[in-house]
């Protein structure tokens, strides 16, 4: 059988870096082909090449036996290649229907939407069970719905090869299941699906074959059937994985952070009367599908947005809304966006090592900054958190995501804060850095630090937390201790199907 896509010796170099080196492998019609690898292994570059956004120096790509013109998104589209990007390419003010038909063949830009085209979209929606509202602006839709619109867009254009870049990162488990059902149906129709993911259980669940990339090269292509996670992990990282740090039972101490009936934020995602308490030596995990109030909770704690109602207490004392910057400077915070919040991208690690504490001893003496102490601090962080490469003179933006995250965690924990707010601490971070950060969080817990963990990753939530809260539409939809957790009820609560308040 002719492969749907065949990479032949594809090489893409960037100055000082080989992103893809001699990549060759086929993807067949009627196959779900997973592509896995650490950050920087070359997955995105390869998918960029296939969809025409990146032009390789060497090699070729054949699509159904015909050589694909490289470096041309238009040629890729014509060849039937469709990309569903991780960050959706939708116009927020247009409806789902308008987004799907925008620029599609048979639809002119300023012409009214044709009934035939609209009927075809509705047919596709019914056929594949891709439930979503087509008549409201996509800005009002959930991420899951947006993703279904992206997929409908590809199907409407009759893409024969679908590239899905981390499609499950933002979905609730039940949504993931229905996405997989759609993928299986597409497979039955002979479409070729390239599926990029960091979540290995999903690979086992849905893929036929897996191609592992490491440092720009194909490490191997294996059948997914009968494959176990351990083997796959060792292929990905090129060695035996270290054991995970165990979670040990521990009796929590005094309350450190108390949030009482907090309401904050406007729009549909506002937080409504949320209460929680984090004690010494305890990790409280807040989960939920993205956009259900997590961001508002963090913003209210940090003082980015005002509170409509409710109280925040730190070490028994109320935190006045106008005094949140002072509160912020007594705690540690691993922010959601490391590049735009947590780091000064164009400054070196020495400046970054003291961000937020530069005006107090030991980094300040009298009126002056103490460069030598700042340098020592940067050194300590780089050493204890294994930041690579260990070069203090490089600007922060030169480091990979995993190393940036290590550095931030190192800085925030270096002052031994009584409370740590960790927001998506391992998002977009590879296996080893994730393991490392998890180990550090557990270490801090053992030391008695109170930790509030906000994460969309349910595995992370369940392995680290003493207590779990699920937010849905700004309210606590499910709450339970680690021991009493009912996974079924928790999963239902992610989509608002659970009304139970507290449990154990």
């Amino acid at each position: 059988m002719n492969p749907a896509v065949e990479f032949v010796d594809v090489t893409k170099r960037y100055p000082g870096l080989i992103a893809n080196s001699g990549i060759s492998f086929p993807v067949f019609p009627g196959e779900i082909h997973a592509i896995v690898g650490e950050n920087g292994a070359g997955k995105s570059t390869l998918m960029g090449i296939l969809s025409g956004f990146v032009k390789p120096e060497e090699g070729q790509v054949n699509v159904f036996g015909r050589r694909l013109e490289l470096g041309s998104p238009r040629a890729a589209l014509r060849a039937g290649i469709g990309l569903c990007a991780q960050h959706f390419h939708l116009v927020p003010t247009l409806t789902g229907m308008e987004n799907i038909l925008l620029g599609a063949p048979g639809h002119r830009l300023f012409a009214p939407l044709s009934h035939r085209a609209q009927d075809k979209v509705r047919e596709l929606m019914k056929k594949y069970g891709l439930k979503t509202s087509l008549e409201v602006p996509v800005s009002d839709l959930s991420v899951g719905e947006c993703e279904r619109i992206e997929i409908l867009k590809l199907l409407y254009r009759e893409a024969k090869i679908l590239i899905l870049d981390e499609p499950t990162a933002v979905l609730a488990p039940s949504e993931v299941e229905s996405l997989f059902t759609v993928l299986r149906q597409l497979r039955k129709e002979g479409k070729a699906i390239l599926f990029i993911t960091h979540k290995l259980p999903e690979v086992m669940a849905v893929a036929d074959r897996v191609t592992v990339l490491r440092a720009g090269k194909v490490e191997g292509t294996v059948r997914a059937e009968g494959l176990d996670t351990r083997t796959l992990v060792s292929l990905i990282i090129g060695g035996e994985p270290l054991p995970d740090t165990p979670w040990l039972p521990r009796i929590p101490g005094e309350p450190v952070l108390e949030v009482e009936k907090l309401s904050a934020g406007d729009s549909g995602h506002s937080l409504q009367r949320v209460s929680l308490r984090v004690r010494e030596g305890e990790i409280v995990g807040v989960g939920g599908v993205e956009g259900n109030g997590q961001r508002e909770l963090v913003a209210a704690l940090m003082g980015y947005i005002g509170r409509d109602h409710g109280e925040i207490r730190f070490l028994g004392r109320p935190v006045h809304p106008d005094r949140t910057p002072a509160f912020r400077r007594r705690i540690g915070v691993i922010p959601e966006d490391r590049r735009k919040e947590g780091l000064l991208p164009s400054r070196n690690l020495i400046d970054n090592a003291v961000l937020g504490f530069h005006d107090r001893p030991p980094f300040r003496r009298g009126l002056a900054l103490r460069r030598s102490d700042m340098r020592a601090q940067a050194h300590r962080i780089v050493d204890t958190f294994s930041v690579y490469p260990p070069r203090l003179d490089l600007p922060a933006r030169a480091f990979s995501g995993g190393n940036q995250q290590r550095f931030i965690a190192g800085r925030e924990l270096s002052r031994r804060p009584p409370f740590l707010l960790a927001v998506h601490p391992t998002r977009g971070v590879d296996i080893r850095a994730t393991q490392f950060i998890h180990a550090r969080l557990l270490e801090e817990r053992a030391r008695g630090t109170a930790i509030l963990l906000v994460t969309a990753d349910l595995t992370e939530l369940r392995t680290l937390s003493d207590r779990i809260l699920i937010l849905y539409r700004g309210k606590v939809a499910y709450e339970s201790s680690r021991e009493a957790l009912d996974p079924e009820a928790m999963n239902r609560s992610l989509l608002g199907l659970e009304n139970q308040e507290a449990n154990g």
Binding site: P15, N39, Y304, P325, R329, L344, R347, H358, D359, Y388
Partner: protein, 368 residues
């Protein structure tokens, strides 16, 4: 990585940063001068004569050079004002207005306390000037911090307000009868001229304001690199999100940066008011507030480089007078603009290209 490799990398980084710093400046000046020669020839004059006259009249003679420095002095202050605000990513387009308001206050204060001996009179006049300019600069700072009003719009508008206000105050309260200038400042508030000590400079208006400017540049350089507040301002300049995340007082820093910037712009008036004519008159700023933007741009907002940058612009503006007999003075204005445009283009090109090379080399595997 071996020590040798690290040393090599450091050397490369140093060579690169030197190239990036000096390259665009040198290239744009060279190209600008080349183009000027061409234009002179097109106008039917001799380029050789143009350049020799320009050289002899400016850098080639002590007197000429002192005139260049005199022209450069206010530009040092306004350049520093723009650069300081820009460290916090605030575009102060209002240095002109701050200089006008500050200058008026300085002239008034310099003339109003005849009892003060030198240098107390000078200090007092400078303080009043800086205070007025600082308050004028604080307005856009406050509006930005409170309401988010963009400082570019506000400072531009306030330039007109400042000019109108100064004219009104001058005409109705401060001008000497039958004149359009303020009273002369007292002897204690006068900055001595260099020609008082050095006869070669006879007739040159160059005065001690130059030294004040250089001192301000050095102090500001140290301050912005070595103090916590300077650091905070640069964090704010890097990104308001980072500053907010770090728990820095954004509103206070914004107001502070604009106030300090306004005060510096006001001090630019000292060259004319305390050192040259000893009074305020309309147009005394000669556009120094606006030229300060170009000065800061060419110096890339580094306080210490403001001094050479201001001297260069001083050279151009005095050079215009020198060559006026050969070609129209506007040719020099054109030259100024062309050099800036070249600089912006080269700076961009050099900054994005090799920087990436260097960084990517460091982007090695995830862990050792």
């Amino acid at each position: 990585m071996s020590d040798r490799e690290i040393t090599n990398l450091r050397l490369q980084a140093f060579a690169l940063s030197t190239l990036q710093t000096v390259g665009p400046v040198a290239a744009s000046i060279a190209l600008g001068l080349g183009l000027a020669g061409l234009l002179v020839a097109l106008l039917g004059a001799s380029p050789t004569q143009f350049f020799t006259t320009l050289w002899a009249g400016t850098l080639g003679s002590t007197y000429g050079f002192s005139q260049v420095l005199f022209k450069a002095t206010p530009l040092i202050f306004t350049g520093l004002a723009v650069a300081l605000a820009f460290q916090a990513r605030l575009f102060n387009i209002g240095a002109e207005g701050q200089m006008v308001i500050g200058g008026l206050a300085m002239a008034w204060a310099g003339a109003s306390f005849p009892g003060l001996p030198f240098p107390l009179g000078v200090i007092e006049a400078l303080a009043f000037g800086a205070l007025a300019g600082g308050l004028w600069g604080a307005i856009p700072g406050l509006l930005k911090a409170r309401t988010g009003a963009h400082e570019v719009i506000v400072t531009i508008m306030l330039n007109f307000v400042a000019l109108a206000l100064a004219n009104y105050l001058l005409a109705n309260h401060l001008a000497l009868p039958e004149t359009v200038r303020s009273a002369e400042v007292t002897a204690g508030a006068t900055l001595p001229r260099f020609s008082d000590f050095w006869s070669a400079l006879r007739g040159s208006p160059l005065n001690l304001a130059l030294l004040l400017g250089v001192a301000a540049a050095i102090l500001l350089e140290l301050w912005s690199n070595r103090t916590p507040v300077g650091f905070s301002l640069r964090v704010l300049g890097e990104g308001p999100k980072q500053a907010r995340y770090a728990g820095l007082p954004l509103a206070r820093l914004t107001v502070f940066a604009m106030t300090a910037s306004g005060a510096l712009a006001a001090l630019a008036g000292s060259n004319f008011i305390l050192g040259y004519k000893h009074y305020y008159e309309e147009g005394f700023s000669a556009g120094a507030g606006f030229q300060g933007i170009a000065v800061a741009l060419l110096a890339r907002n580094r306080p210490i480089w403001i001094v050479p940058s201001a001297i260069f612009f001083g050279l151009l503006s005095y050079g215009g007078l020198v060559v006026n007999s050969i070609v129209p003075r506007e040719l020099i204005d054109l030259l100024e603009a062309v050099i800036l445009l070249f600089f912006i283009v080269f700076d961009r090109m050099l900054r994005t290209l090799p920087d990436r090379l260097l960084l990517l080399r460091a982007r090695a595997p995830e862990t050792p």
